[in-house]
Structures are given as C-alpha cells and as structure tokens.
Amino acid sequence: MSINTFNLLKTKNQKNRNISLILGVLFFSVGVIDFYLNNYFNTNITSFLPRIINFFTPLIFAVIGLHLIRIEFSGIRLLDSLNKNINTNNFNAVLSTSIILLVIFALPPLLNWLIFDANIAGDTKEACTGGGACWVYIKVWFNRFMYGMYPNAEQWRINVTFIAVLVFMAAGFFVPVRFRNYLSFYYTILLPIISFILIYYIISGGSFGLVWVETGAWGGLSLTFMVSFFSLIFCFPLGMMLALGRRSSLPVVKYSSLSFIEFWRGVPLITVLFMSAVMFPMFLPDGTYVDKLIRVVVAITLFEAAYTAEVIRGGLQALPRGQYDAAKSLGMGYWKLHIFVILPQALKLVIPGIANTFLALIKDTPLIFVVGLLEVVGMLNLAKTNPKWLGFSMEGYVFAGIIFWIICFSMSKYSQKLELKYKTDR
C-alpha cells in the first residue's frame, strides 16, 4: 500500500486518476473527521502517536489528501476549479486546510452561543438558563439602548422627529428637474435648519404642551444619529471652504487654513471633546451657557471638517491644470470657476474619501461619553453596571457591534456604488 501511495505521489495522470481521487478524498475526510472528533467528542483517534505529532495529524492528513487530488486536467470541472482556487501547491493546501479547520473549530460554538443555546423568551435574568447568549438582556434594555434616559412615555416624539427628518431628506430626490440647482442649498442650509427646529420643538419640548426633556437625558442610538447627522451636514461645506482656502494664492488665507487643518488633524478627538467640555466655557462671557450637545456637535464638526478638507484637497489637486485654464479663458472668476467647473469634478473624484471620513465620524461618536453624553456604547456601559443585570457585557457589545457594523458596512457599500455611478474615465 505504501509503495502504491508513493507511486501515486509521483505520477498523477488520467490513468490512476480515480484511485488517487478516492484516496485523496479519503485522506482529507480522515483529517477533518479526526479534527471534529478531537474538538467535539474529546476522542482522539490518533492518540497512539506522540502528543506533538497527533496535534497536527488532522492538518497532515488533510494536506496529503489535497496533494493527492491535485491532478492537472483531470477532466472533472469541479475538481479542476477546486484545484485552481484553493489547491495550487502544497503551501496553499496547508493554508486552505488551516482555514477550513479553523472554521470547523470556531463556527459551531459561535452559532451555538449566538442562536441555538441563546435565550430570548422571558424578561428577567432568571430566564437565561442556557449556555448561550442572553438576548433577554437586550430585549429588556432595548428602549434604553435606543433612546437613552428619555422618558418612556415620550419616546414617540423621537420617532416622529426622525421620520419627519427622513421625509424632508427624501423630498430632495423628488424635486422637479428645474429646481435641481437649488438642491445643494436645500441640503446644506435649509435641511439643517428644519431639522434643528423639529428637534428643538419636538424632542426637546417645552412648548406646545410637550414636556421639556433636557439633553442630558437624551441618549442611545438616536443620539448617535443626531450627533452624526448634524456633524456630517456641517463638516462638508466647512471642509470645502478650508480646502479652497488651503489652495488659495492669498498667503493669509492659505496659511490660516493650513494651520487650522493641521491643528485639528494633529490632536485626538478625545482631547477636543475634553476641550469642549472643560475649556470652552472659560472662553465665553460669564453667564452664557451653551448646551453640552451643541458644544459636542461643534467640536466634532470642526474636527472632521479638517479631515474632509484634506480629502477634498486631494480631489482638487488631481484635476489637470487645463480645467482651470480653460475656465479662466472663458472669463470665469474665482467663485464661478470653482462652483461650475472645478468642484463638481473634484467632488466626484473624492467620493470614496468622503465616505471614509463620514464613516470615521460615525465610528467616533461613541467618544462623546467623555463629556457625559451616553449614546449606545455609553448606555451599554451603564447597563452593565446595573446590579440586577451583572455579567452580560458580552451580549451588549455584540449587539452594539452588529448595529454599527450594519450601518457602516451598508454605507461603505453605498459609497462604492456611487463611485461606480459617477466614474468618468478621462
């Protein structure tokens, strides 16, 4: 048998294809089964070998199996594509096997924890009896994770505001063609004002018979959305101005933009938030009070505007000089040239960069815990110290991780789609 195998290793051709195929599959399955038994049934079928060797036996068997089925032009389409994709040489076979074994090792416990052993029924800690995740915890705290300390009876106000803002945002897509030119004006100036008024009167309350809810009580995912929404809207025009300023030929404008950008890019966001919390009140006239939430939004906006500016500058630099010259030769002034010729082209180029900045902004919002505002991650940390619900931090972080992952992943996919849509080949 051993001689036979040896020969097979040497010459794999059409003639002994089938036997080598069968042997290969056999070896591979032995490897996988050995690994499976090792991990889930605590039985080691190769325990007669020394410890150091039998630890690697699944890998060795599987790689021998893959080696045997590596037959060139086997005539079986599936086998050929398998060989081409995961089994080109021994090194690749080792890597592929390691990954397959890793999946076998990690996936079942993970799925068990997440789904099969998890508890979702009931609404006390005692309902969690299985070995898996306790989703009851998330269910009970769900409102807190979404709305923070906002009073339960008033939470419809947040929902109404969000739906209204979404409607106003979507309205931009349905305007008639002749008003298209005013869209950027609508999105950068009108929409923030409308949303601010909505948030001020509905979420904050205090008039029209609505109870006043202070911003300290706001929180959860809705706060994440509010902070990132306003910062996103404001940081874009500011970043554009800074980018133009940095490329300006006027030295004062150029160097002040440059130092502004470099300053904000050089410091961590956490210190900026510290500054907005403890230093900023010192810089205002005695007695004026600016709400914590507004200070945070301003701080994040200034911080991200510097990054946006650098991204847009990249787009401006990538445009060929001819564009500037051509526009100038038509007699366009500085603003006309930039608004009608340069920026529309430059912004198209930087869609991925802008999307990355926006993603970074969303991922930075949890940092506002520094000033005592508790968005979803902050609420998790609060909930996990609740004496009734100790020991469920894992579920909380997994939950928040899934939410953020969905938001960020869909945003990055959307930006890739936009990039393709606006791609113009030069």
């Binding site: 995961i86 006027l250 050089g266 410091v267 403890v278 010192m282 953020f404």
Partner: protein
C-alpha cells in the same frame, strides 16, 4: 485688482483676531472672577496620586511633571507596540487579500470588512470588559508554555535577570553597528563591482552571533525569574517574580492593532495593485524568481504608494491610543488631562499641554515618514 487680493486677506485676519481676542478676553475675565491664575508652576508641585502602570520610577511624592512623563511614556509604549504589530499584520492581510487562493482571499477580506466597520471604542470595551474578563482568576490559571500565566489580572511572564547586562547591551549595539557597516560595504561593492551578498542571512547571523559571544567571553549571564503564585489572603492570590502586563495594555494593543491593521492592509493591497502588470511580466521575463520579482521590482514601487496613507494610519493609531482613558490605562489623557486636571483645576494649561504633546508626536512621526518617503521616492535624472 489689488483690492481684490487684499480685501479677503484683511477680512480673514480681522476674523481670526476678533475670535482670538474675544476668547482671550473672556478667559482673562473668567479667571479673574474665579481667582484662577494662569501659569505652569503647578508642574513642580507634588502630584500625590498613584499610577497603576509606569515604565519609570513613580509614586505619589513625585511632581506633576513626572506624572506627565509617565503618561507620555505609556502612550508612546502603546503606540510603538501597536504600530509594529499593525504594520506586520496589515502587510500579511494585505498580501493575503491578493492571494490566488480563494479561501485566503475571502478570509482576508472578511477580516477587513469585519474589523474596520466597528467603532474602535467598542472593540476596546469588548476586549477589556467582555473577552479578558472571561479569563480565569490567578489561582485557577493554567500554565502556558511552562512559564506564563494568563489571568484576569493580566499576563504574568518570566522576566530576564541579567548579570553584566550592560556588557550585553554594548555587544548588542556593536552588532547593530557592524550590520550597518556591513550593509554600507555590501551596497558599495554591489554598486562598483556588481557583487551580491546575501545581506539578510549575514545580517541575521551577525545579530545572533555577536551578542551570543558576550556570554562566552564577557561573563554575561542570563537567568529567568518565573512568576510564582502567592496567597495574599483567604481568597486573593497574586504572583511574585516575573513581569506583569496589565490587561488594559493587552486590550488596548489588541484593539488598536486589529483595527488599524485593516486600514494598512487596504493600503498595501492598493499599493501592490497600483503597480502595472507589465512590471511583473517584464521582471519575470528577464528571469527573476517570484520572490525576487516581489522584492526587487514590485515592493520598491508599491512602497511609494503605500507609505503616505500608512503614515496617516500611524498617526491615527497614536491619536487613537488616547481612547485608553476609557478603560483606565494610564496614558497621557487619563493621567494628565484626567487626574491631574481634576486635582489642579488648571483646565487651559493642561488641555493645552496635552494637545501640544499630541501635535508634537504627530509632527515627529510625519517628519520621519516624509524623510523615509523621500528616500525611496523616484530619483528622476
């Protein structure tokens, strides 16, 4: 025409002066009414708070300046370890992303998509509060590699005990100097005579042999101090000997590395993909082996694309290390902008110093990387 140039500049200047003037005036007024004095004299005062983890000698009797230094060193430590690990991991994942092997490629892109889309703070919290908290207590901890313990209180590993440690250090420096000299010599030889040395092997062997010599001729000796468990009270155990890596540092390094590596990996992938296919084919057609193609043709060109965005990632990692404050790892922000500020109340000075420190670190890193970038840039004739 002149007015058109001067007017915007004047307006900008006026705007800046007004804002700054307004802020300084208010700050002056506020500090006067609250009786706070502006000044850096507090740096010499006794700090009177303890820091859990410190690279240099420190206790409560030292000054605030010393506490600042402790925080700064801790920040630099995390940034340094993080940058090295993230570069390594990022390069591996980036290359794996381009592997012909379907499984490897998909695993790499899964890793990237997974870790880059979750906020770093959440990842730090996850590792610190969820993953590392699941580790055993010191008394139940299994022995790893016959020497270390991984417990809820941190990693306890054996620490080296040197006799004549300084001599060893001298030999080590000697080895590095000889490697540099050898490399310069080998480069010259290659330039002038076209003779090639296997630089990597000779350098590595020099690095091993020369320090090893010190054991035989200079009386250097090395022994290990192993951590040993000791009962402190009824239910509390600790380890004696060895050295301890606190769980905060582990969680922070892990999160920073895994998060930043995704971005570096994307940079590496973009850099390698940015090299034209013709380069690869041309190099292969003159008979270079695949390894040589990668080392001599692809990498030198790809590095030019990779380095500028990677510099940004290094800067981001350094700045993100300030998130340490959230899990109480005593970095610059926690020690100085946190505890020291609470005690002294010198908000403006302390936040100012902290920001200035980060600005300086960023500046130094970008200067270093710019220098390196210039060195490998295309030398056009």
């Amino acid at each position: 025409m002149k007015l058109k140039k001067i007017l915007p500049q004047l307006l900008t200047l006026l705007f800046i002066v007004l804002i700054f003037g307004f802020f300084t005036m208010n700050a002056q007024e506020n500090m006067d009414t609250r009786g706070i004095e502006f000044g850096f004299g507090f740096l010499k005062q006794e700090a009177s708070f303890d820091i859990q983890f410190s690279l240099i000698d420190y206790d409560g009797s030292h000054s605030y300046a010393r506490a600042y230094l402790v925080g700064l060193l801790n920040t630099l430590l995390v940034a340094f370890i993080g940058i090295i690990l993230a570069t390594f991991l990022g390069a591996v994942i980036g290359i794996a992303r381009l592997s012909p092997n379907y499984l490897i490629r998909k695993t790499a892109s899964f890793y990237i998509e997974f870790f880059r889309n979750i906020p770093l703070l959440l990842q730090i919290f996850f590792w610190y509060f969820a993953a590392l908290r699941a580790l055993p207590m010191p008394e139940d901890a299994p022995l790893l590699l016959n020497s270390s313990f991984m417990t809820i209180k941190g990693l306890y590993a054996p620490s080296p005990v040197w006799t004549n440690g300084l001599t060893f250090l001298a030999f080590f420096i000697l080895a590095i100097i000889s490697i540099i000299c050898f490399n310069i010599y080998a480069n010259q030889k290659q330039e002038n005579e076209g003779k090639q040395f296997s630089k990597l092997y000779i350098s590595t062997s020099l690095l091993i042999i020369i320090p090893l010599l010190s054991f035989f001729i200079a009386g250097v000796d090395l022994s290990w101090s192993f951590p040993e468990i000791r009962q402190m009270s009824q239910s509390s155990y600790t380890f004696d000997g060895g050295f301890k890596i606190p769980p905060e540092l582990i969680a922070l390094t892990l999160a920073l590395t895994l998060y930043t590596a995704t971005f570096i990996a994307e940079n590496v992938r973009a850099g390698i993909q940015g090299i034209g296919k013709g380069q690869k084919e041309a190099a292969a057609s003159i008979g270079l082996t695949p390894n040589q193609v990668l080392k001599l043709v692809i990498m030198p060109q790809a590095l030019r694309i990779i380095i500028p965005p990677t510099t940004n990632q290094y800067l981001n990692l350094t700045k993100n290390s300030s998130l340490a404050a959230a899990i109480a790892y005593p970095d610059l922000v926690l020690v100085f902008a946190g505890t020291a500020m609470m005690q002294t109340g010198k908000a403006i000075e302390i936040v100012g110093i902290t920001m200035a420190t980060y600005l300086t670190i960023s500046l130094i890193i970008s200067l270093l990387m710019n220098w390196y970038n210039k060195r490998i840039a295309i030398q056009e004739k």
